[in-house]
């Protein structure tokens, strides 16, 4: 089978870091990612099934890995070599693997929690359904890997075949297109983030970044919370258009954040000249960028005792946390998904909420371009420059890969 394989090759990794510092996405040209012929992954247990990816998205975390920006934090919780790709809509490949309604398409919930790892009894988080907080992600029947796509045993979506635990699979309704289905996983991240943001009715919420995750988080905030004002920072014209469509009340450009938030919140600013410090600020700031600058912005924009939610994957950053201390800010992470508690107290699987949102907001339209595996360098370059090229989500289209039918 064909797969894009990411091997542990320090020299190539270093080359990727250098290349990507000049042109984002160019880690795919010089780094440790390569298109290879590999054996299909073996099933590690009876509840594992083979699946054949149809579409597999390119996520910001994938780009960070390819360009060598990922934190070393991940080293003990991934296993090499791995096939990236955790945003996957696939066909069940086993002979009797059809769903009860006869459909074969599934969306992968990639977190490799206790159930997938064959750990019984599961950890407390998995027992509660909070898979993203699993405490056993490097234990059990399979090699370490916080998700499919970062584990050497499971394969990943950037290939013509992979495996999945039955508990990871969600049937795709017949009416949902592949493009919509491939958006379910990132949408689940966004739904989880929106509900983790703790937005109270009428509050001012600012979303930094309007890439895929930022746009989806906007849509999730609009559907599952009740902000008074929802503001989005969007760099590119298409992002601004989509941000408005997906529910932002106010759309602003980078550099305008402090002034706009000051006006939205009737805050004052300290000193005259360019605004550096607000006296008040937004109730909630959702950082969907994950850079040092974005975190600094978030710290500057949140009101005293406000909440900052890190949704975009950060790495090593250097920021002044004095404001966090003096203003008693809450800095909270939001990773993956599991089970959510809604405003009315009901508990729902995040993926179920994500399916609803994808359909309601027509999020399949965010898939801007697809590529065959052989053009992976172009695909990754496109994904790395998606915003400036008027695109949102770039995905691999495996439906026509020759190896898929062998």
């Amino acid at each position: 089978m064909k797969a894009l394989l990411f091997r542990r090759k320090p020299a190539r990794y270093a080359a990727a870091v250098v290349a990507a510092s000049v042109v984002p996405g160019s880690g795919a040209r010089v780094g440790p990612l390569a298109l290879e012929d590999v054996d299909p992954p073996e099933l590690p247990g009876p509840d594992w099934v083979p699946i054949k990816p149809r579409l597999a998205g390119i996520c910001g975390s994938d780009l960070s890995t390819i360009d060598g920006h990922s934190s070393r934090y991940f080293e003990p919780i991934v296993s090499f070599p791995f096939v990236p790709g955790h945003e996957v809509v696939a066909d069940r490949a086993g002979p009797d693997d059809g769903a009860p309604d006869g459909s074969h398409r599934v969306v992968l919930e990639p977190v490799l929690g206790c159930v997938a790892r064959g750990i019984d009894p599961p950890c407390g988080a998995c027992a509660r359904g909070d898979l993203g907080s699993c405490e056993r992600i490097s234990f059990g029947d399979i090699e370490p890997g916080l998700q499919t796509g970062f584990c050497c045993d499971t394969g990943g979506g950037w290939s013509t075949a992979m495996i999945a635990h039955r508990s990871q699979l969600h049937e795709v309704p017949a009416a949902l297109s592949d493009e919509a289905a491939v958006m379910v996983e990132p949408t689940a991240c966004a739904v989880h983030a929106a509900l983790a943001a703790g937005v109270e009715s009428g509050q001012t919420v600012v979303v930094l970044g309007s890439g895929t995750l930022g746009l989806l988080t906007l849509a999730a905030l609009r559907r599952y919370t009740d902000p008074g004002t929802l503001a989005a920072v969007a760099k590119h014209p298409e992002q601004r258009r989509l941000a408005r469509e997906l529910g932002a009340d106010v759309v602003l450009e980078p550099g305008e954040e402090r002034r706009v938030v000051r006006r939205l919140t009737n805050s004052l600013a300290i000193g005259d000249g360019p605004i550096t410090r607000l006296t008040g600020g937004a109730d909630v700031v959702v950082d969907c960028v994950g850079t040092e600058a974005a975190l600094a912005d978030a710290l500057a924009l949140a009101r005293p005792r406000g909440r900052i939610l890190l949704v975009g994957m950060p790495g090593r950053v250097s920021v002044d946390l004095t404001g966090l201390w003096q203003r008693e800010l809450q800095l909270v992470g939001a990773y993956a998904y599991g089970t959510e508690t809604l405003a009315d107290g009901t508990r729902r699987r995040t993926f179920d909420l994500a399916f609803e949102l994808v359909e309601a907001a027509d999020l399949g339209r965010l898939v801007s371009a697809t590529y065959p595996l052989a053009r992976y360098r172009a695909a990754i370059a496109h994904a790395a420059a998606a915003g400036s090229r008027g695109a949102v989500k770039i995905a691999f289209d495996l439906r026509n890969e020759r190896e898929r039918t062998r």
């Binding site: 000051r262 004052l268 005259d272």
Partner: protein, 531 residues
Amino acid sequence: MPRPGFVLEVDRSTPPILFHHGEGFRLEKLPAGRSRVLYPAEPLPALRDPEGAIRHALANPMGDSEPLSALLFPGMKLTIAFDDISLPLPPMRRPDIRQRVIEQVLDLAAAAGVDDVMLIAALALHRRMTEAELRHAVGDRVYEAFAPHGLLVNHDAEDPDNLAFLGTTDQGEEVEINKRAAESDLIVYVNINLVSMDGGWKSTATGLASYRSLRHHHNVRTMRHSRSFMDRHSSELHHANWRMGKVLRDAGVKVFQIETTMNNDVFGAEGPMSVLQKREWEWSAKDRATFLAMKTGLDRLPMRARRRIFQSWLAPHQMTSVQAGEVEAVHELTTANVYAQHLVPVEGQTDILTMGLPYICPYNVNSIMNPILVMCLGLGYFFNLYKGRPPVREGGVLILSHPTTWEFHPVHHPSYIDFFEQVLSETTDPEVIERDFERSFAEDEWYRHLYRTSYAYHGVHPFYMWYWGSHALAHLGRVIIVGGDVRAVRRLGFQPASTLQDALEMASDVVGRDATITHVHNPPILMADVS
């Protein structure tokens, strides 16, 4: 004798014409046979004895006023209000007219035994003047005598403890002005009437007013009904100020108005800048070389350096008349004197009006000409420099030349930045802007704080800039800016063009290929008297 302004019909022999272009210049060849250039009059002679003229005016007032000395008495409360940094343009060489006048007023007050004197910079919602600017305006002697004692102050239109509500006009307009001024036995208002819009009741009713009062005439409806606001008798802006003047008078506020006019000597007769005051076909070889060297040098300098050079220019313009006494009588003569310098008879309207916008307008002295001020200068001030009809026909095209950089002075224009980023990104329609956004900016606590304690224009000020151009926006079919920052020009709702030729080509979509063109060669200032 200085030559009057005139209209040049462009033919094949006409040399390229000077267009001011912010902190630089362009030379543009206008199409022969269908273009004309409006040239300003040469500078009128300055008063030979300005001190004597002031003395004479104070002693021989106009209208029903008594001489100033007769209005001064021991124990009285005297307030001297004077025009702020927005006048004159460019700032003049020392001594400033205000200094000359104020010193004589103070001499008379001292002679009459008046102890309670306060000087107020009548800046309305403009930014406060700095110490250096105040010193330049009133002179070091006056500054030293008054400022340290808190007796020379900037008007504060947001100080609730120092505003007096005096009533409403017959049209419901609220009149609220500086309390110290309102409660004085006499206000002496010292004007510099750079253009015909300045002075009259507008001095007190606007310069010393609050937002509560100003909003009644600084709005879209008023501006659209002022045809133009440079022509007092056709200006709703002035009608409102005159109505407010009646309220002031009825409330017992006594004003002794001193108005002065100045000549067109903006660039002088000597030095490299003097070439800007000459007509192109009269440029000598030395003039051409000077201009070329100046232009080339400027073009190579960074914007910050260019701005510093231009902003440091103190113009040699001088006083041509001084009138004092009763407000309306004074203003009639002042206006006639302004017209004597500025009016240029023009026959008929044109399809395309072109203007080269200079580096300065009333609101960027010692500051930055941001895009909103570009709009205001072009569509507000320059467009309205007409009497009778606009020089461009309804539905015609206005072509401006200016770099229009996306740049703001963060201390002077904080609300402008937000207006540009947050309001103009939504709409450029003045009525919608007024309806949906004005109040929140006007009442913004931070803008208010900066206006009162720093050197910021009031939060509502960028709105007024936009309203200033609302008559032109309604009148014109298209506005094109040559050589401007494309993004900034588009944000203003206008069209960018790289060259004048491109702009004329774009204009032909609106007014046809054989459209007539009129270029206004301003500055020095001229006012088209369109028949």
